[in-house]
Each structure stands twice: as C-alpha cells, then as structure tokens.
Symmetry: C2
C-alpha cells in the first residue's frame, strides 16, 4: 500500500489546480518553505533543473556575444530615483536596508528588484566612445520584490534570474537586440523546455516601468491560464538621458546611448510543471531532466540483478543522466516515486529479463512500455528521449491550439471567458479605457499584441470603434 500513499496525497488537477501545483512542488521535492516569509528553499531536485536551464540558456547567450558580469545587490535610494517611471514602478515593492552593522546608514539602500539603475551608473563611466559600443552584458543573480501573495517559483519575494543589460550607439541597434533576445527566449522555451509561446508586444498599460517598448513571450498553462515567461525591453535613450550616459560618435558629436534589458527567472520551473505535469506528478522534458533515466531493479536481492543494473548505468551514463534506485523500497513505491519526480524514462530489469537478455523501458509522458534487447538499450534510450522531447512540445502546442479562441463581439468575449479557459484573440482599438474595462469586467488582461497579426474584424471587441490590433487576452498568473 505504501506506493499508493505517495500518489493519493496529490490533489487531482481537475479538482483543484492550485492545490495540485503545490502538492507537486512539495512531493517532487523541488522546494521547501522556510521561516523567511514569502521565500523558499530550492532543494536539490529543483536546483538541478535550474542549473540545466542556466547552462543551456547561458550557452545561447554567449553565442550572440553576451558577456557575464556581476553588479552589487544594493541600490542607493538616490540612484533608484533617477528615472521617474522606473522608481514609481518599483519603490512600493522593494526591501530597504537601513543599518550596516550597528550603525544607521546615511542613505537607505534597496535590495535590487532589477538592476537598470546600477547598470546605468556603471555604463556612465564605462562608455566614452563609439568604440566602447555595444555593451552586451548579463548577470545571473537573485532579486527581491516584496510581494504580498507568493507561490513557489511563480511569485516569491526573492527569486533567481538572469538580467541582460545592453547599450548601443543607435535606436536601430537597440531595437534589433531587444528582438534578438526575445527570439533566443522563444526558441529556448520551445527547443529546451518543450513549451510553445506567443511572441508579441505588451500594451502601454502592461509595459515595464521606464521602457519605450516591452516584448514578451506568453505561454499557456494546463489550466488555461497565461504565464508571462520572459520579457525584453527597449528603453530608447530614456535612462541614458536620466543618468547622462553619452558617447562620442564617429562624427565627433556627443550622443546618448540606447539601451535594452531582458530577463527570465526560476518561474520557468513553474511553467514546466504547469504545462507538462499530470496527476501522477512532474513530467520533465529530457533536456532539463537532471535524471533522464531511472533504473529500477526488480527482485534486487536475487543474485546478479543489482550488478546488471549498475552495469547498465555505467554504460548509459556516458551519454545520458542515469541513476539506479537501489533503496530498499518496493518496486511499486519506486515506480510511483519515479513518476512523481518526472524522470522521462524508467528502466525495469529483473531476473527473468536478464535471463532473456532484455529489459523494459517506460515513458513517463504517455506511460508506454517498450521491451528492448539489452544490447540495443543505449540506442533506444537516445531515440526515445528525442521522441519524448518532440512529442511533449507537440502535445503542449495542440493543447494551446485547442484552448485558443476568437471573439468579435463583447458577448462572445464574455461568454468565452465564462465557459472556457485559455487565450482569446480579439481586436482592440488601442484605447486604454477598453483595456481597463475588460480587466474590470472579466478579470482578464491583455497578454500581448502578437507579432503574427490576424484581421478578425475591423472593430474593437469592447467599444466597437475601428480597430487594427489583434490582442491575446487571458487570465494570468
């Protein structure tokens, strides 16, 4: 019965998606709560996913010329206040350091909620000439935002992220880098996390504090809610003017630089859970699975079984991330645990299998069991991991297509949000009043104005006035 307890303890996602999510993050041992309100411990199983994300994303950054740096975690209050929109956006949610050691500080320092102001302060001295441009810097660090309601990975007072900050000679270069990084993000989600995204621009209302334009990738979770998964901002020369970041151009005149910033966070782990997970627990895409294959020996006390399991591990670990579950738990318990933790493949091997020169591979994503000859295991595992990665993306894409709707009238629009869950595409007149009204009436927000526009009608779904922009609307995390 032991094996059932582990699974029974999860709420089903149809019954209560939020509780299912909390159960999975706890039971799969991704996080633990702490004495520090609103902050979490990321446990080994969770942090190992982050390490795989970090490594693969960082490699992609470096291919585009990004260099990593590290800036201080503290921002003096006077520095935070230099760009007006920015301070208004962030001041209400920062943590303030007022004492260093036993002494009160002369000036309060906030713990960085994001580092635009610090990068500006740095670039002001670091950039003199057009020869110093572009600067394409990134840092991996943690940031703090004093949120009232928190949820593991999705919204916490401290979270891990990367923040890229660039400076360019021209507005065109800045815009090109903004879009380039958005594309890096979108490809990363699709190719590595097996999550399809909608790429687009945020409305004025939803853009980042201090940005000229904010671009976003929006993903659809299993419950039909939208998750903003990465953003890329073009600041124009606004920060440069506020901080005095000027360079001497080739024509010998002083000009302001144009800047961008872009970030993705540990929230991506939440996205993986909510896009791919099921009622047995986590389902990890092979490319970010810290253990891609768990070997479960059957009747492991019989002579030769554990030896064979270790032998297989030693062969397979040259190409894959493999472990043997040699604990004294029952096979049934081990299966349930392997499912809960989301290992893409499980390999079962017992005395009869060994005699017959075979074993059984079991796919976590669809439960399929495949009998394989022992001398073909290595090739088969490689092939299956690729197939799983591909089919997980296809399944997620199909789910999103099925849950993306269109509305041309307010009645349709309301009806869709009252009866379905997902994205609704609808035309918008670009007047913020309509956006506000929709949010007030339906508790949905504009997710983005997608790059791939369609002309669903020529009227705004809200006010009926002429409309040229199609917007993705949704309930958001």
């Amino acid at each position: 019965m032991a094996e059932k307890k582990l699974v029974e303890a999860i709420t089903s996602m149809e019954e209560d998606f939020a509780q299912w999510y909390t159960d999975v993050v706890k039971k799969a041992e991704l996080i633990d709560y702490t004495s520090v309100k609103g902050c979490m411990v990321i446990k080994p199983a969770g942090y190992a996913i982050w390490e795989l994300i970090q490594k693969q994303l960082d490699d992609r950054f470096k291919e585009t010329g990004v260099e990593n740096v590290y800036l201080p975690m503290f921002i003096p209050e006077s520095l935070l206040q230099k760009e007006k929109d920015h301070v208004e956006g962030f001041a209400p949610e920062v943590a303030w350091v007022t004492h260093g050691g036993l002494q009160p500080l002369q000036e309060r320092l906030c713990v960085r909620p994001t580092s635009e102001t610090l990068f500006c302060d740095f670039y002001k001295n670091d950039i003199q000439s057009y020869r110093d441009l572009p600067k394409v810097y990134n840092q991996w660090c943690s940031v703090v935002r004093w949120e009232k309601e928190t949820r593991p990975f999705l919204r916490s007072r401290e979270f891990l992220w990367q923040e890229g900050h660039t400076a360019h000679a021209t507005a065109q270069d800045a815009e090109a880098r903004t879009i380039q990084m958005l594309n890096v993000y979108a490809k990363f989600l699709e190719e590595v996390l097996a999550i399809p995204v909608v790429k687009g621009q945020k409305t004025e209302k939803e853009k980042f504090a201090g940005a000229v334009a904010t671009y976003t990738i929006e993903a659809l979770m299993h419950d039909g809610k939208a998750l903003q998964s990465g953003t890329s901002h073009n600041f124009g020369s606004g920060f440069a003017e506020a901080f005095g970041i000027q360079f001497t151009d080739k024509d010998n005149t002083l000009k302001y630089v144009h800047q961008t910033s872009w970030g993705m966070t540990t929230r991506l782990i939440g996205a993986i859970i909510m896009v791919h997970g099921d009622n047995s627990g986590l389902v990890l895409p092979p490319k970010v699975a810290p253990t891609q294959l768990m070997i479960v020996p059957i009747m492991q006390k019989k002579e030769g079984v554990l030896d064979k399991a270790y032998e297989l591990r030693d062969t397979l670990k040259k190409s894959f991330r493999v472990k043997v579950d040699d604990t004294d738990k029952t096979p049934g318990w081990k299966f349930a645990e392997a499912e809960m933790r989301g290992y893409p493949l499980r390999l079962e091997i017992g005395p009869k299998d060994i005699e017959a020169g075979k074993c059984v591979l079991c796919r976590r994503d669809n439960g399929e069991k495949i009998e394989v000859a022992l001398d073909e295991v290595e090739a088969k595992v490689g092939e299956l991991l690729e197939t799983i990665q591909k089919e997980m993306l296809e399944r997620a894409r199909a789910h999103r297509e099925e849950h993306t709707y269109e509305a041309t009238t307010m009645e349709e629009f309301e009806n869709l949000f009252n009866t379905k869950s997902g994205f609704v595409k609808a035309m918008w007149c670009e007047d913020q009043a309509c956006e506000d009204l929709i949010k007030e009436k339906l508790s949905v927000t504009s997710r983005c104005m997608p790059f791939e526009q369609q002309n669903l009608s020529d009227k705004c779904v809200c006010c009926g006035k002429p409309a040229k922009k199609m917007v993705y609307w949704g309930k958001a995390y």
Copy 2:
C-alpha cells in the same frame, strides 16, 4: 608611445605593492568601483575567471556527492540569535533590512553574512531518520559583511562565494567531511590556480564563530603576506542542539546531527593576482584564463594576414580558448595589453611569417619566444599551456619556500618579521596569552597549526614554556 602609457601607468610592486594591486585590477579591467560604497562591479574579464573557477570547483564538489541548493538571502533576527557564539561573531557586521515596500517589518531581517542558521532551520524539518543522512548541500551565492575597509576581491561588503553545509549521523563522519573538503580546496588551488598552500588547523582564537574546529588553507602572496584562501569548519553538534536538529538512529534513539560548513570566495581572484602577477600586469594560470591564447596579427592590413589569423583561431579554438586582436591598435599596444590582461600565450603572425610557414609564440609567464611551424602550432600550444601551468606552480612554491623562515627565540622571531616578509614557523605553548602578545607586538597572527608538524624546539617562542605545536605565523590580508 601609446603602448608605453598602458604599462607606465602601473606602479611597480617593489615600490608599492598595494598600489600595484589596485592598478592591476583596474587596468586589466577586472573590476570597477561603484556608487555603492565598499561594493564593486566585476567586469567581464574578472567574471569570466570566476566562471572558470566555479565550473571546475563545482565539478570537483559533485564528484564527492555534493548537491546544490538555494536558500533565501534573508535571515530573521531571531534565527540568527539561536547560536550564541555565532551571533556574537556576525551581528556587528551585517546589513539589516527593516522595511518591505512601504511598511516597516515586524522583525528585522539581516542579509546573510553566511547561512549556517538558515541551513539549520531547513535541516530541522528535512532530517528525520538516519536514512536522510548525510546531507551534503552547497550553494553558490553572494553574501554581505559590513566591512569598514574594503579592497577589490580581498575584502568587500558583498562578495560571491560557495558555502557547503552538511549534516551527518556521527562526529567521525562530520570530521571526515571537513577534512575531505579542505583537501578538495588544497588540490584545487594547486592544480587549477597553481597556488601551493599550507593546510592546517586554526587556533581557538582564530576559529569560526560557532565551530568546534576550523581548518584552513593558507597561501603566501608575492609581497610575503598570508592569504587565508579557504576554510572548512566542523561544528560538532553545537548548532544541532541550538536548533533542535535530531534524527532517529538505527537503534531507534533520537540523536543530534553533526554538521560542517566550508567556503571559498572571489578572494581567490585576488590570490591569483598577488601570487602570479608582475610589473607588466596580470599573469593567469592557463586553467582559469578566459583567453588562453591571443593572436596578434602584424601588419594586419597586408592581404592575407587577418585571414591567416582567423584561420588559426578557427583551428585552435576547438581545443583552446582563443581570440584574435583585430582592433586598429598598433602591435606594440596590443602586446602591452595582452601582457596586462595576463593571457598565458600570445601568437604573433605577420606577412614574413606566413611566407615562411611559421609564427611566434610568446609565453606571458617568463617572456620566452618560440618560433613554431604553422602545422605544429596546435600541438605546441597544448604543450606550452601545460608547461606554463606546471611551472607557475613550481615558481610559486619556490617563492614560498624562500620566504618561509624558522624561529626558536623571540629575538629571532622579531628580527625575522622586522627584516623579512613571509611565513615564520615557530613553536607555541597553546596559551592564547602568547598569541595575543605576539599579535600586539608584531602585528602578526597565527595562520594555522599545520598538519605537517615539525619539532623545531621544545619551548614556546614567546614565553619559553613547554610547547608541542608548531604554528605558521604571518602578516595577513
């Protein structure tokens, strides 16, 4: 003359070692100062060294079974106060967060100066049975200590580090892990950073706040000062008792766990500079050099020169970290810059070389120039990088041997510190009064009681009473 400016701007180390150090960190573009007092920006050239340290050290950790995690950066005041010695050691130098957003906090939070208390709070819930042990966790993060005097890499208010925290069933297991990690550190410094170290135990006076025993690796800098380069602490069950971390052992009784912690920091970059650097700038050991080979084309505007440089880069970059300096600076300037930045090898190639089918390799560590046929470059570069790595360690070891002295009387001891700079080995009676007196009179501290003991005499160098311990003494950073 341009090329001379770069070099002339460095103070010579013989004239003023501290100023030389500051010049190198700035001119080699490792760091920049910021508006945040006591904190620094780690620039791309500096951060890339840290990334190489991190990767290689983390691999070595994982080979010993370490798992990475992430804990919050904030510690509630009540948690910090649970272990008495620990809070006394750290409270005077922490930064306090008193406000979150616009509200004052009910309880102050300190920004972690180290995370023993948070790990204890976490382990208290995470450990129930002997089956849960050992826990061998580590995190890579930044910590804050409100220092009054700061120096880049050596002492700053915020610095990057790793902190390992483990919990064990027995005192023996904890002690074994403490020593194991000290050995990992010592091997890492010797094999990767080319820095020889003295391994030993800290005296009671110098041990970590809350530890039963602190072990250290001590390195000697070029100016004869000692740098504590990594420490490993055995806490016994002191923290476990203060925090109530108990487990049910195999015999079904409740027992306290035994804990350790161990850390190394960005200070290691300071050690690299001060052990290997010279009056032309930085000298990087090949294993942590972000650029191992810089190709400098001569007469690069002549047809075919740049093409050949790129072709060489493309061949060599499969095995090494290689760049081409194709800027419009003069070759002389490029040479001086390559020296300042410490690239282990420089490759010079011009029209005549190409005609003759050869190029020149120049070693940064000793200035040697080697003519090599183009079709032998790859093998030669590999061989030279290995030689450089090895000889840098040998040179550093020879320097340390030359600057390690012995004293048996207080007169000899004083005389050595007044006329020489380096380590002085001397016997000590283990009475803290002598340690205090030596510090007061000579401004030197006990660096460690080395594992490799020698019996220099049977009397304490200070009081003349019977002494069994040999101690390394030195001036410290």
